[in-house]
Amino acid sequence: MSDVLGDNIPTFDSSGAESQEVGLSNMSALADTGFASNWKEALILILVACGVIGGLELVVRVFDVPAYTFPAPSAIGQSLWDNFRPLYWPHLLVTLKVLFLGYFIGASIGILLAAVITQFPFAEKIVTPYILLLVTTPMIALVPLLVQKLGFGIQPRVIAVALASGPMVMINAATGFRRTDLAKLALARSYGASTFQIFTKVRFPLALPMIIVGLMVGAIFGLLTAVGAEIVGSGEGLGNRLMYYSSRIQMANFWSIIVILAVLGILIYVIFYWIGKRWASWQA
């Protein structure tokens, strides 16, 4: 009569699925910390940031720290200002291309696999150890191997990014799809919902907050892997530039790249923060 509900005694956990603890980072925690809520807070945030940067500058100057140990923030700023367009921008584009391609492939496969696999508990048991293996293995280690096979093009790096981000997305999305709220399934079934309708109208929305968390973590892991892959097996990209500038002891340039990477990471966080706020705020 009904496959979705199974033949279980109809008792509902009163807390409901939406209040379940969600793994790695709870979306509500993500949604609660925004930027300043008024101008006073904003002023303090900006003052603290100025203090930190100014303090660094002061320390470097007062103690006469050599530039090859740590360049003054002003020198890093100067390097960014002078070199961003001509020197860093082309490499940033390369890194972004690798990241987007790999992430797109990895994340779509990850979500799809999570949606399918969670419908079959036994298949899930079989697949989970391998997914965990993929999550815990640093994919950068594969890059030299892939370079041997595929050459110095972007493919090895794209594959590494996909392998790093995909399982991350999958494992979180699977947690989301596994939240079955018996009462909500029964509600949809009582109106005669098909398995497909139940998926699109109940299971997917219920899983969405965790999918977004997975997408964010996957994107950050993808960025780390893209940069790592460029360090070990590429002649271009921001990772390669890190190696290049550090080997030439051009520390201001080296730190400029670090700043660009940090901004990228924060950007990823901010983007998913807004996506989460827009699509998953009902959970908070």
């Binding site: 009569m1 009904s2 509900l5 033949d7 279980n8 005694i9 109809p10 008792t11 509902f12 009163s14 409901g16 939406e18 009462a183 909500k184 029964a186 509600l187 949809a188 079934r189 009582s190 109106y191 005669g192 919902a193 309708q197 109208k201 109940v202 929305p205 219920l206 969405l208 009902w282 959970q283």
Partner: protein, 291 residues
């Protein structure tokens, strides 16, 4: 009052059906630790437009019986017949109301109410005026764009009642709908349900473990025994309607509570036992009054 009448006309057509027959319903659940015998040979005829309450202790198979009526679960043996045809799956003439409102938290109120229409692939536009009238009736106008978390428990449950009535089912199955609400909100909801039922003439099966709620609302109260769920007794409640909260403290009402509670505790209806206990209690209160 005008709105009430329009809702009434729109929903309580004379030719409507809503006859539910439960015939020898028996249900076993298979679990990891063996099988659970949930229902044993339940036979119950529910007339069109009747208000039936099913009461019994936790785990007596009340919900199981309701789920079998709604076509959400199969029976191990026996059958449920609605308007002459055997139930084999969810039916469009049935609307369910669950414990704890069961609204979808990612949809606002309007979208929640239109959820059944989406599932049934029916255009909800022609139904909008009726939904609006129902919202007025339950006092939820102006809250259409609010999300469930922004509403109180009582408001959420009222919204779920509108969701159920909006697509005009003949039969409403309510699974401990007010169990999670505080006592005062519960009274308020009970009066609302009685009012809606009197206006629309729908068949209602109402599962609860609150005896006074059952007596307040029902034409007949069915008492189930636990493990396996068997009908211990069916009580006719012939108190006049509309019933009020004050009447729940009247002697005939208290008497009914007494009979039903005794039946639940004893596992069967034994009038002589009820009479004996009543005498004892009366004796105790008389002594207390004297002292």
């Amino acid at each position: 009052m005008v709105q009430t009448e329009t809702v009434m006309n729109a929903m309580g057509g004379a030719e409507r059906s809503g006859v539910v027959q439960v015939e020898h319903a028996t249900k076993y659940y298979k679990t990891n630790t063996g099988s659970v015998h949930a229902l044993e040979d339940i036979t119950l005829d529910i007339r069109k437009g009747e208000f039936i309450a099913i009461v019994g202790p936790s785990g007596c198979g009340k919900s199981t019986l309701l789920w079998a009526m709604s076509g959400l679960h199969d029976l191990t043996s026996g059958k449920v017949v609605i308007d002459g045809s055997t139930v084999t799956g969810p039916r469009s003439e049935i609307g369910m109301i669950f414990q704890e409102a069961n609204l979808l938290p990612w949809r606002n109120l309007q979208k929640n109410i239109e959820f059944p229409f989406e599932i049934k692939k029916i255009d909800s536009k022609p139904y909008r005026p009726r939904i609006q009238e129902l919202l007025v009736e339950v006092g939820l106008t102006g809250f259409e764009t609010k999300f469930p978390r922004e509403l109180s428990g009582g408001m959420q449950q009222r919204a779920s009642i509108v969701r159920c009535l909006a697509f005009d089912p003949d039969i409403i199955l309510m699974d401990e709908p007010f169990g999670a609400l505080d006592a005062f909100t519960r009274d308020e909801m009970n009066l609302l349900i009685q009012k809606l039922w009197m206006e629309t003439g729908k068949t209602i099966v109402f599962v609860t473990h609150n005896v006074s709620e059952a007596i307040l609302l029902a034409d007949r109260v069915v008492v189930l025994t636990p493990r396996p769920g068997r009908i211990a007794h069916v009580f006719d409640i012939d108190l006049p309607r509309p019933r009020t909260i004050e009447e729940t403290y009247s002697p005939p009402f208290i008497e009914k509570i007494f009979e039903i509670k005794d039946t639940i505790m004893q596992g069967s209806y034994r009038p002589e036992h009820v009479a004996e206990v009543t005498r004892k209690v009366a004796g105790v209160s008389a002594r207390k009054a004297g002292a």
